[in-house]
Amino acid sequence: MAIRRKLIAGMTGLLGFMLSGLVQAASELNMRPGVTETSIEVYELHMMVVWVMVAISVVVFGAMFYSFIFHRKSKHPTPATFSHSTKMEIVWTAIPVLILIYLTVPAVKLLIKMEDASNSDMSVQVTGSQWKWHYKYLENDIIEQEISFYSNLSTPREQYENYETSGAAENVNYLLEVDNHLVLPVDTKVRFLVTAEDVIHSWWVPELAVKKDAIPGFINETWTKVPTPGIYRGQCTELCGVNHGFMPVVVEVLSKPDFAKWLSGKAEEKRIADKTAAAAASQNWDMDKLMVLGKTVYDAKCAACHQVNGAGLPPVFPALKGSAIATTGPVEGHIDIVVNGKQGTAMAAYGAQLTDAEMAAVITYERNAWGNDTGDKVQPADIQAFKAGN
């Protein structure tokens, strides 16, 4: 008896396991319904089209296979001689028109709804640049003080360069994780103002059914209203250069009280960061400390283009190793290009992205690593002086 019960339990367990596997497989086979009202409607429209297409293919391919079997030469040696039928041709022009009308009506309704970003409760400006996202929460009733931060891929370089040996396979969020999530409150209509600094990017979160191109010089509008807290992951979907595959989007939706807590935490964080930055900036840093911080900043912000070894990917991403700017050129020129970027090239302005200490450290690092050995030490005060002089 016991064995039988165990067997049954085992079998049910196995069946359950297989079923869950099937369900899981099915979820990977299809679009995810997502979590918002819009995304669920998009999913339903998608399923409706899929079934209409399946039905058409059953009829059309059915007729073809019927011919293959019953009208093959061995079974049907004398071919019929008809070669047109106005009646049939009218029928198979009219039926597709009706099917298309049937599909168009819900599509038009849904599209109009999706494109209506009016009456939003708050706005976030989303700016794409090679290869990160920048989020700026615009001030309003909910956001008392403007917040802004960058969101970079947080999967370590080691993991994608040595996928097999670095344990990347265990990382479920491999390439879909960032250092700073875009945090949003639940049940709030959020308007996104999407733009870009350099090339075209596209901001996509599948589970919210939001995809909008981020285009330099233009501001696009889209919106979402998420009813369930959770973390939703997406990626950049417009080819934007070398690291196009490495700029994910992560949206974290919190309950309203949690969001308020996050907001005040963010304000406090900014206050502390400003204070530390000011303190760091007023210090005189020694070489070792500059080089250590410099390497961290360089690997995180600069190595994607200029490479870890400073050799760059010339000629689009020039080498820093042995380059005039990082060796013989004046320190001011080097500071200028890091703070302000270089117009007409891929070199972005880091003045607002890094603290003065971080910029001082990274410039020092670039002037002394890889055999550049200039011995130049750049202090946060130099950066401040440069900014003041500008």
């Binding site: 299809n30 899929v50 073809m64 030469k73 047109h84 996928y163 191109d213 990626q235 689009v316």
Partner: protein, 517 residues
């Protein structure tokens, strides 16, 4: 008159013979097909599993870009021009193409254009890396220096295409045998005539676009630079005004091919000849007013999105008419399934599947979820591989005995078909799933959740690539040692090339016009 036949290498350099030029076009496109295919193998090897194993992202982007450019401009388009050269004079009862010297020139531009394009891969900074759609400003301000070679290459192949198109139009309008009225022309000639008009309309637009890129890059203009008052979205509008008709340029001649082959092996006249002609013309006209369906995510006004959505969905109607007509042609026919017929049937089925995903993509609200994912990659490979490439392959098998007087080995041909059929689906069907699951296109590495389907697609791609070498072997075997073809190899075939011409087709087509009833 004796069938004068020049020999040696100068035969190929100096030739003005439509058959020689057609042969060169076909071999050229096959070589490009193998090069573009090798690039696809590199892409699929990198995507076989997550992680960066074989190539750097920078090179990966060059491969996706060059694969697209080579396949579109080097493989598919020249293969269609090759077929046009071989078949149009034979099918309308003309001695040759109307402008034979220009014909020579339009072919001989191509090897130079593609040498320029391919050489960019070996330059400092690498080759073009901005996708075959080369959206600005990634292709202008942020592009490698070799982009200028790409621009020049596109100009040259554009000149070649325009000359080829002019030649087709002039030939069809002036060189038809007496009695060959327009509405008696074989469908292949009709589809090519319409394709030629599309080419003349859109290739200059592409030329204008790359010229604007060139001046943006070097002469201080700012057509596509927002900082200078330009508009990166305008780039996309111009590109797709060329790019959408371009899609039909690649596939309409293949429609013509299967419209010849299916009746032949059904032993029954093509169903609805005139509606086929009108449907082709409607597709061509509609192709000019649907371009922005590639751009639903750029932030167009709702009215624009609605217009492009509805216009695009309308294309399903004439396309549906064509599919139904092919099915009706087979209906109550007397079918046999030789290699050309197999490829043609696969064309109809798989192209229709690509059409289904096309209707899905046309619907703007759901397109936001499909756009720029592998779903799109699956869609356009379904219309291009089993569409354009199966179409050309079917044509080569079908007319091969007429062209050469030799017969290919049917068993080998069928093996080529079945392997292609299995692998084409194994490669491209799983891409629908990885796209729906959320995998963006043109990424060199991906999350574990996309791993299974990518592995299947890679295995399929290697099989598909290998199978095309099979095609090469079949053709070489047939040329070298194929048995003699019959005077009329396919009992159901119709048309001047089968009924009014000896086998193999003489070097000079009709020197006196054939009789057309």
């Amino acid at each position: 008159m004796s069938d004068h036949h020049p020999t040696g290498i100068t035969r190929w350099f100096y030739t003005t013979n439509h058959k020689d030029i057609g042969t060169m076009y076909l071999w050229f496109s096959f070589i490009m097909f193998l090069i573009g295919g090798a690039m696809a193998m590199i892409i699929r090897a990198e995507l076989y599993q997550p992680g960066l194993q074989f190539v750097e992202p920078a090179f990966f982007n060059q491969m996706t870009t060059m694969h697209g450019l080579i396949m579109v401009f080097g493989a598919v388009m020249p293969s269609m021009v090759g077929l046009a050269n071989w078949l149009i004079p034979m099918q309308i009862g003309a001695p040759d193409m109307a402008l034979p010297r220009m014909n020579n020139w339009s072919f001989w531009i191509l090897p130079f254009a593609f040498t320029l394009l391919l050489s960019s891969l070996f330059m400092e900074g690498g080759g073009p890396n901005f996708g075959w759609t080369f959206y600005a400003p990634l292709s202008t301000t942020y592009a490698p220096p070799s982009t200028d070679f790409f621009i020049l290459g596109v100009h040259m192949m554009g000149i070649s295409s325009i000359m080829g198109a002019i030649n087709v139009i002039v030939t069809v309008f002036n060189m038809r045998a007496p009695g060959m009225t327009l509405m008696k022309m074989p469908l292949f000639v009709w589809t090519w005539l319409i394709t030629a008009f599309l080419l003349i309309m859109v290739m200059p637009v592409l030329a204008g676009l790359v010229t604007m890129m060139l001046t943006d890059r070097h002469f201080g203009t700012a057509f596509f630079d927002a900082a200078g008052g330009g508009d990166p979205v305008m780039f996309q509008h111009i590109f797709w005004f060329f790019g959408h008709p371009e899609v039909y340029i690649m596939v309409l001649p293949a429609f013509g091919v299967v419209s010849e082959i299916i009746p032949a092996f059904s032993r029954k006249k093509l169903f609805g000849y005139s509606s086929m002609v009108y449907a082709t013309a409607s597709i061509a006209l509609l192709s000019f007013i649907v371009w922005a369906h590639h751009m639903f995510a750029v932030g167009m006004p709702v009215a624009g999105e609605l217009f492009f959505m509805i216009a695009t969905m309308l294309i399903a109607v004439p396309t549906g008419v064509k599919v139904f007509n092919w099915v009706a042609t087979m209906w109550q026919g007397s079918l046999t399934f030789e290699t050309p017929m197999l490829f043609s049937i696969a064309f109809v089925i798989l192209f229709t599947i690509g059409g289904f995903s096309g209707v899905m993509l046309a619907m703007a609200p759901v397109d936001f979820q499909y756009h720029d994912t592998y779903f799109v990659v699956a869609h356009f490979h379904y219309v291009l591989f089993p569409g354009a490439i199966f179409g050309t392959t079917a044509a080569v098998y079908y007319w091969f005995p007429k062209w050469t007087g030799k017969m290919y080995n049917e068993a080998v041909g069928k093996t080529h078909f079945w392997l292609s059929m299995i692998f084409v689906n194994l490669t491209f069907f799983p891409m629908h799933f990885s796209g729906l699951a959320g995998m963006p296109r043109r990424i060199p590495d991906y999350n574990m959740m996309f791993a299974d389907f990518n592995m299947w697609a890679s295995i399929g791609a290697f099989g598909l690539g290998f199978t095309q070498l099979f095609f090469f072997v079949t053709i070489i075997m047939a040329i070298r040692g194929g048995k003699k073809a019959e005077e009329k190899q396919w009992d159901g075939a119709t048309g001047l090339e089968w009924d009014a011409m000896t086998t193999p087709a003489p070097y000079h087509s009709f020197s006196t016009p054939p009789k057309v009833d």
